[in-house]
C-alpha cells in the first residue's frame, strides 16, 4: 500500500512540474519565452538567435527584455495593450518588474516600447528616441530581425551597460528636445533618476578621492620640514648685491605685433523647450502601475 502511494505521489509531482513548464506559466522572474512572434515576422532561426541575445541581457543586466508581434491589438490603444500585456503575463525581474517590451502591431503598422521598474530610468527619453531612430528604417522596409536584434536588443544592451558603469541614465542633450516632443499630448509625468545612496559605491568613489589629496598634502608638509635640514645651497643670483635704487630703465617701449582669435561654437545645453535631459516620462497604466515608454508608426 505504501509503495503504491509513493508512486502515485511522485508521478503526480512530475506531471505537475511538466505541466507548469510546458504551459509557460510565467513567474515574475523572466523565466519565459522572450520572443512571442504572433505575427510570424521571424524565421525559426531568427527567433532562436534573438531569444539568446535577450537571455544574455537578462543574465548580465538583470532586466527582462521582450519582443511581441501581433496582427492586431483587439481594439486597444497600443500603449495600453503593451502595458497590460506586460503586467498580466508577469514579465519583469524582481518586485519592481524591471524590464521592457517591444510590441509590433502589423494591423496598424505601429510599434510601442513599454518599460517598468529600473528600465524606466535605464531606457530614458533620450535612449528610447535613439532606439526609435535605430529601428525605423528596418521596420519600414520589413527587415524585422535586424530592427529587433540590432536596433532594439543591441541598444538595450548598450544603455544597460552605460547605466551600470556610470550610475546614471543615458542622456544626449542634442536630441532631448526632439525626444520630449512625443510626450506633449497625454498624461505624462517627468521623472528624474535619483541614485540610491549606496555605501559601497560611495566608498569606491570617495575613498580614492580623499586618499589622493590627503597624502598629497601630507607629502608637501613633510617635504618642507625635510628641506629645513638642507641649508647649503648654491646661489644663482646676486640680488642682495644690487645697489639700492640703481635700477635705471632707459627704454621701455611696448609694441603691438599681432593677434589671433579662437572661436568655439557653444554647446547648446539648455535648448529652447526642454530644460532637462536624462530623465524619463512616465504614465499610469490602466492597471494602476507606473510605466515609461514610447511608440510610433512605421
Amino acid at each position: 500500500m505504501k509503495k503504491k502511494l509513493k508512486r502515485i505521489l511522485s508521478i503526480t509531482a512530475i506531471l505537475l512540474l511538466l505541466a507548469i513548464n510546458l504551459s509557460g506559466f510565467a513567474f515574475a522572474d523572466g523565466d519565459h519565452h522572450k520572443v512571442i512572434d504572433g505575427a510570424d515576422l521571424l524565421t525559426a532561426d531568427e527567433e532562436m538567435l534573438l531569444e539568446e541575445r535577450l537571455a544574455e541581457i537578462e543574465n548580465e543586466y538583470l532586466l527582462d527584455a521582450v519582443v511581441l508581434t501581433v496582427d492586431d491589438t483587439n481594439g486597444f490603444e497600443i500603449e495600453d495593450f503593451a502595458d497590460t500585456y506586460y503586467e498580466e503575463n508577469g514579465f519583469g525581474i524582481g518586485e519592481d518588474r524591471d524590464g521592457a517590451m517591444l510590441v509590433i502591431d502589423m494591423g496598424s503598422r505601429s510599434w510601442h516600447i513599454t518599460t517598468m521598474g529600473k528600465c524606466i530610468s535605464v531606457l530614458s527619453d533620450d535612449a528610447l528616441y535613439t532606439i526609435e531612430n535605430a529601428m525605423m528604417d528596418n521596420l519600414s522596409n520589413g527587415y524585422f530581425y535586424d530592427a529587433f536584434y540590432y536596433g532594439y536588443a543591441g541598444n538595450i544592451e548598450y544603455f544597460a551597460q552605460y547605466f551600470d558603469e556610470s550610475g546614471e541614465p543615458y542622456s544626449d542633450p542634442s536630441i532631448s528636445d526632439q525626444a520630449d516632443d512625443y510626450y506633449n499630448n497625454g498624461d505624462y509625468y517627468y521623472y528624474e533618476y535619483e541614485p540610491v545612496f549606496d555605501l559601497w559605491t560611495t566608498i569606491k568613489i570617495y575613498l580614492p578621492a580623499s586618499l589622493i589629496p590627503g597624502f598629497a598634502f601630507s607629502f608637501v608638509m613633510a617635504k618642507s620640514e625635510k628641506n629645513k635640514l638642507t641649508s647649503v645651497r648654491a646661489k644663482k643670483e646676486a640680488n642682495s648685491f644690487i645697489r639700492r635704487g640703481s635700477l635705471n630703465i632707459t627704454n621701455d617701449r611696448t609694441r603691438y605685433m599681432y593677434s589671433n582669435v579662437v572661436v568655439t561654437v557653444k554647446q547648446d545645453n539648455s535648448g529652447s523647450g526642454a530644460s532637462h535631459s536624462g530623465g524619463s516620462h512616465v504614465h499610469m497604466s490602466s492597471g494602476g502601475h507606473v510605466h515609461g515608454g514610447r511608440g510610433g508608426h512605421f
Binding site: A222, S231, K235, A238, F241, R243, N251, T254, V262
Partner: protein
C-alpha cells in the same frame, strides 16, 4: 728667513691675538689692549704695494703676483719656541703647532696683492657653539642621536679670501608678452590673444658681488652664509689676522669673474622681468647683457668652520664670523620622514572622507 711676524705684547711679551668682542688686539696673559694703529706701524715694511690698487678687469695679469704652484711648502722656524713650521704657500696666518703662538707669514703676503679690506671677526668660539646647538633645534627629521653622537673634531676660525666685484650691468631684453580677452554672443565663445614686443633697456649697479677665492673651500658653503655687511669692513692690517687662520687666494680674479658674471646676469634678467607687468604671459625672446666698468677687490672675510663625523659620514658647518648666520646640511632620519608622511596622510584622508560623507547626509 725672518719672514715670520709674531706680534708680541709690549707689556709682557706674550703672544697677541685679535679679540672679536673688543674688536682690538689683546694680550691673553696680561689683558693689555693694544691699538691696531700701533701695530700697523710695524706693518710699514709690508707696504710694498699701495693699498688702493685693485685689479681692473682690463688688466690681463698682475705682474707682481708670485706665480708659485699650489702645494709647494715652505719651512719656517717659530720665534717663540724654535719649532719648525711647515706651511703651504697659500697660508698667510696660522698658529705654531707646538706652542700655539699665532704667526703671520709676511713673506706670503709680500709680492702679491695685499687684501684691500678685512671684516674682523665679531663672534668667538662660544658664539659658534651656541649657534651650532641652535642650528640643531626644531629640525623635525634630524636623527635624535645626532646631537649627542656627532663628534666635532675641528673648530677653525679662518679669514677666507674673497674677490668682491663692483660693476654696472647694461641689458637689452625683448619679451613676447600677451594679453587675453574673452567674450561671447548667443552662439559662440571668442578668445582673442594679442602679442606684444616689449623692450626693456637699462642699467643696474652691483656692489661687492662675492666670489670665494679659495679653490679648496666649497663655493656653495660660502654662498650660503652671504651676505656680509661691508659697512663694517676696515682697511686691511695684518694685526687683525693675529690668532686666526688665513689663506691667500688660489683663484685668480680673471677666473673668479665668471662666477660673479653668471649671478649678475641672472639678477639683471630677474629685475628687468619684474618691470614687465599687466600681461597674461611674458616670455623673454632675446637677452643681451654686458658688464661695464668692472672693479675687483680682494678682501678677507671671517668664517668659522666646524668639521664633524657622524656614523662614518663627514658633516661640515660654516658660520658667518660677522653676522652669525649658521649653515650646514644635516642628515635625514628617513624612517621618521616616511612615518610622519603615512600618519599625517591617513589623518588628512580620513578628515576629507568624513567631509564627503557629511556632504551626502545633507
Amino acid at each position: 728667513m725672518s719672514e715670520i711676524f709674531e706680534y708680541k705684547c709690549p707689556n709682557c711679551g706674550g703672544p697677541l691675538r685679535f679679540d672679536p668682542s673688543a674688536q682690538t688686539v689683546k694680550c691673553p696673559y696680561c689683558d693689555s689692549e693694544i691699538s691696531v694703529e700701533y701695530l700697523s706701524e710695524q706693518d710699514k715694511e709690508l707696504d710694498t704695494i699701495t693699498p688702493e690698487e685693485s685689479a681692473e678687469w682690463e688688466k690681463a695679469d698682475d705682474s707682481t703676483w708670485d706665480e708659485t704652484e699650489d702645494g709647494s711648502m715652505n719651512l719656517y722656524v717659530c720665534e717663540s719656541c724654535g719649532g719648525e713650521i711647515l706651511a703651504q704657500d697659500e697660508t698667510i696666518a696660522t698658529s705654531c703647532p707646538y706652542c700655539g703662538n699665532p704667526v703671520v707669514f709676511k713673506g706670503n703676503i709680500q709680492g702679491q696683492l695685499k687684501p684691500e679690506f678685512v671684516i674682523p671677526f665679531k663672534l668667538d668660539k662660544k658664539d659658534v657653539k651656541d649657534r651650532y646647538l641652535k642650528h640643531l633645534e626644531k629640525k623635525k627629521f634630524l636623527p635624535k642621536e645626532f646631537k649627542d653622537e656627532n663628534k666635532i673634531n675641528e673648530w677653525k676660525a679662518v679669514y677666507v679670501p674673497f674677490w668682491l666685484f663692483d660693476c654696472e650691468a647694461k641689458g637689452t631684453v625683448h619679451y613676447d608678452a600677451t594679453t587675453v580677452t574673452a567674450w561671447s554672443d548667443r552662439k559662440h565663445d571668442f578668445v582673442k590673444t594679442s602679442h606684444y614686443d616689449v623692450l626693456r633697456e637699462g642699467t643696474i649697479a652691483f656692489d661687492n658681488v662675492p666670489v670665494d677665492g679659495s679653490v679648496a673651500i666649497q663655493d656653495d658653503l660660502m654662498q650660503s652664509i652671504e651676505p656680509f655687511d661691508m659697512n663694517e669692513a676696515v682697511d686691511f692690517k695684518t694685526a687683525y689676522l693675529a690668532g686666526y687662520l688665513a689663506d691667500r687666494y688660489t683663484l685668480a680674479s680673471e677666473d673668479a669673474i665668471k662666477y660673479a658674471d653668471a649671478r649678475i646676469r641672472q639678477s639683471v634678467k630677474e629685475e628687468f622681468a619684474a618691470t614687465v607687468t599687466g600681461f597674461a604671459s611674458v616670455m623673454p625672446k632675446s637677452e643681451n647683457i654686458g658688464l661695464l666698468s668692472g672693479k675687483a677687490k680682494y678682501a678677507l672675510l671671517p668664517v668659522w668652520f666646524l668639521g664633524s663625523t657622524y656614523k662614518g659620514e663627514k658633516y661640515t658647518f660654516a658660520m658667518n664670523g660677522q653676522t652669525g648666520k649658521f649653515v650646514g646640511n644635516l642628515p635625514i632620519n628617513k624612517k621618521a620622514f616616511w612615518k610622519q608622511f603615512l600618519i599625517r596622510g591617513l589623518i588628512f584622508s580620513a578628515v576629507i572622507f568624513a567631509l564627503f560623507l557629511a556632504l551626502f547626509a545633507f
